[in-house]
C-alpha cells in the first residue's frame, strides 16, 4: 500500500498535475486507449456535489468524466 501517493481525486478544481502511473491494470488499459497515459497533464475541472463523478481535462485537449473509484487509481505528481 502506497498510502502517501497522491491520486487524481486529491486535486482541487482548476488544479493541474501530471499522471505518474496507474494502480489498476484493467482501468489503465481502458484509460490508455482513450488517450490517458503516464506523463499526461491532468486538470480537475469540477466535481459534482456528492463527489461521485469527477470531470478532468487531459493535456488541455479533451474532457472525461470518471467515477471517484476510477480516478483514485490514477497516481499523480505530488508536488
Amino acid at each position: 500500500m502506497q498510502v502517501a501517493d497522491k491520486t487524481a481525486i486529491d486535486l482541487i478544481p482548476n488544479e493541474i498535475s501530471q499522471i505518474i502511473r496507474f494502480e489498476d491494470l484493467v482501468i489503465a488499459g481502458k484509460l490508455m486507449t482513450m488517450g490517458i497515459l503516464p506523463n499526461a497533464e491532468i486538470e480537475m475541472v469540477r466535481r459534482n456535489a456528492l463527489g461521485h463523478t469527477l470531470i478532468f481535462r487531459i493535456n488541455s485537449r479533451f474532457k472525461i468524466a470518471l467515477r471517484r473509484d476510477e480516478a483514485r487509481t490514477i497516481i499523480i505528481q505530488s508536488a
Binding site: L25, K30, M32, T33, I55, A65, R67, E70
Partner: protein
C-alpha cells in the same frame, strides 16, 4: 454500366473512434442509399451504403461502430474486431476517420488496423475548425499512408477522398512493415499458432490469442490450447495490451505533436467550457435537463396535433371515397374497416415518432447526451444502473427497441441487464396515442399556471413510468448477482451544431423502420381483428351481409357482441371487471399485447364495424358509448385512469420482448419482464379503479 451482384463490389470499411465524425462522413458519402441490417447474432446496426467513386465505379461502404482500439470494452466494439478477424468478406480498404483536434488520442486504433495489413486512408475530419494548423506531409511520411483532409459537415474533401479510394483500390499499398514490433514472448506465441490461426497477419494472430475466449470461430480445442500455451510462456493479456499501447503511443506522439498545432482554446474548446459551466452545474444542470425534457414533450404534444388530425381526416375521406366507388359487401368492409383502419393506426404515429427522434437526435449530435450520462451516473449507479443507461431511458421515450439496443455500450452485464429490464416502463411513443385518446375523458381541457392541463397529465404519466423504471431497477439490483466491474469513463466531446443531413437521415431511417417493422404487426392485427369482429359462430348472426350494412345501429350492436372478438372479450371480462374494463376494452387490451398502438386501431375497428354510417372520430364514439344494461357511460374518470395506468405499466409489445430475448440470449428475462410489468399494471389499475369509483 454492367449489372453485377452486390457481393462482387469491393468493400470499403469506415472505422474510427467515437466522436470522430464517422457517421457524418458516412451520411455525406452514401446519403439515402444506405441500408441498415444486422450483424449475425447481434443487434448492433450494420450500416452499409453504395458509394459511387465515379460514373461507372461503385463500392460498398460499411460503417463500423465507433471503437477506441482492438481491445474492446463493450459488445459494440467486439463487432469491430469480429469484422476483421472472422468475417468471411474481408475489407479491400479501410478509411480511418479522425477528428483532427483530437488526433493524438484517435490514432492508436489506426496503427492497429494498419498492422492487420489492410490498405488504409486517413481522413482527417473537421479541418475547417478555427485554430488548427496541420502538416499532413509529416504524417503521411511517418505512417506511410495517404491522408485526405475533409469536413464531413460541409463536404470539403469528398472528391479528393473518392479519388484516393479509387486509386488505392487499383494500386493497394502493401503494409509490409508492422507499426508495432511484437515482443519475443508474443512472437513465440504467434509462431506457435501460425498454422492454426487462419488470419494472415501476425498482429491478427496476436489479437486472436488475446480474445480467443469469446471469438466464435475459434474451436473449443484451440481455445483450450491457446490458454494452456499462454500460461506456459506466462503471457498476461492485460499486461501485454498495456505495453503494446504504450509502445505505439511512444512512436506516434512526438510526430503528431510536431505536425499539429492547436491554438489555445481553439476548435470549440473555449465555447464548450462556457456552456459546460451551466449545463454541468450540479443544480442548474438538473434544471436544464428537466426543462429540456419538458420542452420535448410539450413539442410532441403541440406540434403533432395538426399533422395527426390531417392524416386522420385524410384517411377518413379516403375510406368514404372507396365506399362510394366500390360496391358494398365484405371486400369493401375489409378494405375500409380492416386495412384502412389499420393503416391509419400506423401513419398517424409518424409525426410523433419523427419529432421525438428529431429531439433525441439533436441532443446526441450536439454532445449533450454525454453530459447527461456523467450527471446521472451518481443517481443511476446507486440504482444498479450505469450513467449510460440515461441514453436508453431517454430513448425509451421514443421506442424501447432502439433504446434496448443502445445498451450494448454498457460493458457491465448486470447494469446492462437491469437497464434492459426497466426501459420498457418508460412511456414510449406507442403509448402516446392511447394516452392522447384517453386523457380527454379523464382531464378536462384548460390551463393551470399557463400549462395545458392535459399536457401536464401526460407529463404525469411519463413521470410514473420513470418512477416505476427506477424503483424496479433498485429492486432488481438486489436480486441479480454479478461480480463484473462497473465503469463510467465517459468522454465529453466538444459541443457542435447538429448536422441537418444526419438528423434528416436519422429521423427518416427510424420512422421507416417503425412503419415497416411495427407497422406490419399492426396491419396484420387490424385485419385479424376485423375478421374476429365481423364473423361469429352464432347461427342467428351470420357474417355481415350487404343487408346488414344497411340495417340500423340497434340491430348491429348485438352482432359484434356475438362475434369471435366479442366472445373473447366476454371470456376475459371476469378478470378485467375489477379494474373497470368492459369486454370491448378487453378486446383492445388483448390485441395490445402485440403492440400498444393497436389499441387505437382496435377501437377504430370495433366502433366502425359497429357503426359505419359516418367517419366521425373514434373519440366521439367512445365518449358516447354507454353500458347496454345500465346506460351509464363506459369511459368514466375511474375507468379511464385505470386504463391509463394499465397502459403505462403493462408489457404490451411483442417486438420488445423479442429484442430482449435476443439481447439477453434467453427466454428467462423477457418472461420475467412480462410477468413483472403486467402484474404491476394490474395491481395498480385495481387500486386506482377501486379508489376512484
Amino acid at each position: 454500366m454492367s449489372v453485377r451482384s452486390k457481393t462482387d463490389l469491393k468493400l470499403v470499411v469506415l472505422a474510427g473512434n467515437p466522436n470522430s465524425g464517422k457517421s457524418t462522413l458516412f451520411n455525406q458519402l452514401t446519403g439515402l442509399s444506405q441500408h441498415i441490417g444486422n450483424y449475425p447474432g447481434v443487434t448492433v446496426d450494420k450500416k452499409t451504403g453504395a458509394l459511387h467513386l465515379s460514373a461507372d465505379q461503385e463500392v460498398t461502404l460499411l460503417d463500423l461502430p465507433g471503437a477506441y482500439s482492438m481491445y474492446p470494452s463493450s459488445k459494440d466494439e467486439r463487432v469491430v474486431l469480429r469484422q476483421f478477424l472472422t468475417e468471411e468478406k474481408q475489407p479491400d480498404l479501410i478509411v480511418y476517420v479522425a477528428d483532427v483536434s483530437q488526433l493524438e488520442k484517435q490514432i492508436l486504433f489506426l496503427t492497429q488496423l494498419k498492422d492487420l495489413g489492410y490498405p488504409v486512408i486517413l481522413a482527417l475530419n473537421m479541418v475547417d475548425m478555427p485554430g488548427i494548423t496541420i502538416h499532413t506531409d509529416l504524417l503521411e511520411k511517418h505512417f506511410n499512408i495517404p491522408i485526405v483532409p475533409i469536413s464531413g459537415k460541409t463536404g470539403i474533401g469528398m472528391m479528393a477522398l473518392k479519388l484516393q479510394i479509387g486509386n488505392l483500390l487499383a494500386n493497394p499499398i502493401k503494409q509490409d512493415e508492422t507499426y508495432y514490433k511484437l515482443s519475443s514472448q508474443e512472437k513465440e506465441l504467434t509462431d506457435y499458432f501460425a498454422d492454426r490461426i487462419a488470419h494472415t497477419s501476425p498482429y491478427g494472430k496476436l489479437l486472436t490469442i488475446h480474445h480467443a475466449e469469446w471469438l466464435d470461430h475459434i474451436s473449443p480445442n484451440l481455445k483450450a490450447e491457446i490458454k494452456e500455451q499462454s500460461g506456459r510462456v506466462r503471457f498476461n493479456s492485460i499486461q501485454a495490451q498495456i505495453s503494446e499501447t504504450l509502445s505505439r503511443y511512444s512512436r506516434f506522439t512526438p510526430v503528431i505533436r510536431k505536425a499539429l498545432h492547436l491554438d489555445e482554446g481553439g476548435a470549440g474548446m473555449k465555447m464548450t467550457d462556457r456552456i459546460d459551466k451551466w449545463v454541468m452545474h450540479p443544480v442548474l444542470g438538473s434544471i436544464i435537463f428537466f426543462l429540456l425534457m419538458l420542452l420535448v414533450f410539450q413539442a410532441i404534444f403541440a406540434w403533432s396535433t395538426g399533422p395527426m388530425d390531417f392524416i386522420e381526416a385524410g384517411m377518413g375521406e379516403l375510406g368514404m371515397m372507396i365506399r362510394t366507388i366500390l360496391p358494398g359487401g365484405w371486400v369493401t368492409d375489409l378494405i375500409c374497416d380492416g386495412l384502412l383502419a389499420g393503416l391509419t393506426g400506423i401513419i398517424v404515429f409518424i409525426p410523433q415518432i419523427a419529432i421525438l427522434f428529431l429531439f433525441i437526435g439533436i441532443l446526441e449530435e450536439i454532445g449533450y447526451m454525454a453530459r447527461a450520462v456523467s450527471m446521472f451516473d451518481v443517481l443511476l449507479s446507486k440504482l444498479g444502473l450505469n450513467g449510460r443507461s440515461i441514453v436508453a431511458l431517454v430513448s425509451g421515450g421514443a421506442c424501447a427497441i432502439p433504446a434496448i439496443m443502445s445498451t450494448r455500450n454498457i460493458s457491465n452485464w448486470k447494469e446492462r441487464l437491469i437497464t434492459i429490464m426497466v426501459t420498457p416502463f418508460i412511456s414510449c411513443s406507442a403509448r402516446i396515442p392511447v394516452y392522447a385518446i384517453l386523457i380527454g375523458f379523464a382531464v378536462p381541457q384548460g390551463r393551470i399556471f399557463g400549462f395545458e392541463q392535459q399536457g401536464l397529465a401526460l407529463m404525469g404519466l411519463y413521470g410514473i413510468g420513470i418512477v416505476a423504471a427506477l424503483s424496479a431497477a433498485y429492486v432488481l439490483k438486489h436480486i441479480i448477482k454479478s461480480e463484473d466491474k462497473s465503469f463510467l469513463m465517459m468522454e465529453l466531446p466538444i459541443y457542435r451544431p447538429p448536422v441537418a443531413k444526419n438528423l434528416f437521415l436519422l429521423v427518416f431511417e427510424k420512422t421507416k423502420s417503425f412503419v415497416l417493422g411495427a407497422g406490419k404487426i399492426i396491419l396484420i392485427i387490424s385485419m385479424v381483428l376485423w375478421f374476429l369482429a365481423s364473423f361469429g359462430p352464432s347461427p342467428d348472426h351470420p357474417k355481415l351481409s350487404d343487408a346488414q350494412v344497411e340495417t340500423s345501429q340497434a340491430r348491429q350492436r348485438p352482432a359484434i357482441e356475438d362475434s369471435y372478438a366479442g366472445i373473447l372479450g366476454k371470456w376475459i371480462e371476469p378478470v378485467i371487471k375489477p379494474i373497470g374494463f368492459d369486454w370491448k376494452i378487453g378486446i383492445a387490451v388483448i390485441c395490445s399485447f402485440a403492440a400498444r398502438e393497436v389499441f387505437v386501431g382496435t377501437m377504430a375497428t370495433i366502433y366502425s364495424i359497429d357503426d359505419d354510417s359516418d367517419v366521425s372520430s373514434i373519440r366521439t364514439h367512445m365518449a358516447k358509448d354507454r353500458d347496454l344494461k345500465t346506460g351509464a357511460l363506459i369511459y368514466t374518470t375511474a375507468t379511464t385512469w385505470s386504463l391509463l395506468i394499465f397502459y403505462a405499466f403493462a408489457m404490451q409489445c411483442m417486438s420488445t420482448l423479442a429484442i430482449v430475448k435476443r439481447e439477453t440470449k434467453s427466454w428467462k428475462w423477457p418472461i420475467i419482464q412480462f410477468v413483472m410489468m403486467t402484474t404491476l399494471a394490474y395491481v395498480c389499475s385495481l387500486l386506482v379503479y377501486q379508489v376512484l369509483s
